[in-house]
Subunit: 339 residues, 2 copies
DNA sequence: CTGAAAGCGCTTACAG
DNA sequence: CTGAAAGCGCTTACAG
């Protein structure tokens, strides 16, 4: 049988209250008794029972982490890394993170994650693009939540985002400074605001250097309104090169796409980076194993998770505070696919 | 304020005990009162409070899922899928799954996952290769656990494994039936029993068809004693082709390696599958986006998770039962890299 | 078939 | 600075 607070109290010759106080670092306990209690706890290997504690405090001690099923199942490991960052951070405050996925076609009445239906979390993190109905549900329930790498135009929610705009801007600026003139963009659905921002960064960097003339953008960009994939990248590269053989660089909306773009370029017979430089975004693990190794914008995924956790804790402690957006900055990593 | 069991009892004009009985489908309650209680629960949107319940039953309602950090962070999404399968299955019995990672250098005194240190789980699943010290720790603690896709030679633990041997056998047999003669093997560390079994399947299929003469195996196999990766595959393919240009097929210990092997072959100028057929193992998501699309052994990852959960539940209900191994069968999927 | 009561292990005002 | 007591919301023998 595991030791209880009662056992500790008896052995220390004090009341349960006192033990509880030192356990929670609350109030003042004579440092002498405190030390005695502490050492007895250690010696009896005392661990407070979570459920008893939670029952008394009326908290769950859990945080939900929800992401779209496709993001967890498919090639994107981005949000797994973010999860890990949250998990690390949550250790400090003894929260457990409950990871679950939701389907695209989400109905709060039908598909609500269990921990939401049974009120088993104190707050939740939403990673990436998730159903709007879910966000609304949480908002209505007044359950503290943060969006990660996602935002809704016109809405004001707590959110941790990547500095997509500046990352893209810097990548393209780097390409320009290396002498590239015909810089293409290959991307996916603009439903995701990150991609929209990356495109904006691309465009404004070109504008800054006065590179946009006539139908530059039309001729040099390929976007398909679906979830990004390697396949899209390959298709995009092939089509663009046909339209404009003078392309000497491609900035891609993410690494997955970029890896497809590289395949496409390779099939066309052009050399990377001599003929065409390629830069991706995200720095997913396969990026550095690609051949050639992919230049990309590195996103500190663990830090994002950590920041999301911190923000969520702040909201949970102070639910009425005005929502805020925290932007995580990113870095360009030049590998073999550009210089 | 959320409704409690007391509220329900009062409204239904019965005692808390009765409500609790219908809640837990235990004992006999007059079907009339039962219906009444049920409908009142629904109407008041009653959700039993987990912590209270757990405190009374002395269970945690949680299951731990532990995997090696490298497996979660790197290219392997295998165990994420298995996790998802467990998560789905756990919904039925209202278990929450707590996912965490451990480092390679694991010391039970230092790096014990929180939910283990604080006894916050009723059982745990270990996915893939994990530190032996961890397994021993769980064994000593008498905490129910299952190994997934891993086993320790000479030890008898509850375990859910893939039918690696037969999968490999079938892949190689398929290659042989397609007329391939010089079938190579590229693999990684034999520390992992799965890889060892896959190699055995490879070898015995060759034996069955009497293909092994002289230094066939030496000349046709490349294994490096490190974690598998794309890089190893590429290196392996290059070296083997130099040693034996007659190679007309490669069976790889997993898809990651296979994708590297394909790059290596492509660089050598040989065609896939005309000159050399390639088959992988696992069917990770990128396999079907590879170019050429990778033939592989499909492993039902969700089913593995589901089975692991079921097994774990059985052990938790009956801890003294003799350990058992459950083997999940696999299928060959022929795509573009072989025929 | 149903109720009264004790108990699970903690926290938290409230006294002192 | 510390103790006594009530309470968190459920379950489970035990009576009846």
């Amino acid at each position: 049988m595991a030791a209880t607070i009662k056992d500790i109290a008896k052995k220390a010759g004090v009341s349960m209250s006192t033990v509880s106080l030192v356990l929670n670092r609350k109030g003042y306990v004579a440092s002498e008794t405190k030390q005695r209690i502490l050492s007895i706890m250690q010696q009896m290997d005392y661990k407070p029972l979570r459920s008893a504690r939670k029952l008394a405090t009326q908290k769950t001690g859990n945080i939900g982490y929800i992401l779209w099923e496709g993001h967890f199942s498919e090639v994107e490991m981005f949000y797994s890394q973010v999860f890990l960052g949250m998990e690390y951070a949550a250790r400090k405050n003894d929260h457990y993170i409950l990871l679950t996925t939701v389907k695209e076609e989400f109905d709060p009445k039908e598909n609500l994650p269990r921990f939401l239906r049974y009120n088993d979390v104190d707050g939740v993190a939403l990673a990436g693009r998730v159903p709007h109905a879910l966000i609304e549900y949480l908002d209505n329930q007044q359950l503290p939540f943060v969006l990660i790498d996602y935002e809704l135009p016109g809405k004001n929610y707590n959110c941790v985002k990547i500095d997509n705009y500046n990352g893209a801007f810097r990548a393209v600026e780097n390409l320009i400074n290396a002498g590239r003139k015909q810089i293409a963009f290959v991307g996916g659905t603009f439903i995701h605001p990150s991609i929209k921002d990356r495109y904006r960064g691309y465009k404004e960097a070109l504008e800054k250097y006065n590179l946009i003339h006539n139908d530059y953008l039309k001729k040099n960009s390929y976007c398909e309104d679906v979830e990004t994939s390697r396949a899209i990248g390959e298709k995009g590269a092939t089509k663009l090169l046909k339209k404009n053989p003078a392309i000497d660089a491609v900035f891609c909306c993410n690494d997955t796409t970029a890896m497809g773009v590289i395949s496409g370029i390779q099939k066309s017979g052009k050399r990377i980076p001599q003929d065409i430089a390629v830069i991706g975004f995200d720095d997913i693990p396969p990026a550095k194993f690609n051949s050639p190794k992919l230049s990309t914008i590195q996103v500190p995924k663990l830090d994002i998770g950590k920041e999301a956790y911190k923000l969520l804790c702040e909201i949970m402690n102070n639910p009425s505070r005005a929502p805020q957006t925290r932007t995580i900055s990113v870095d360009l990593i030049v590998r073999e696919s550009s210089y």
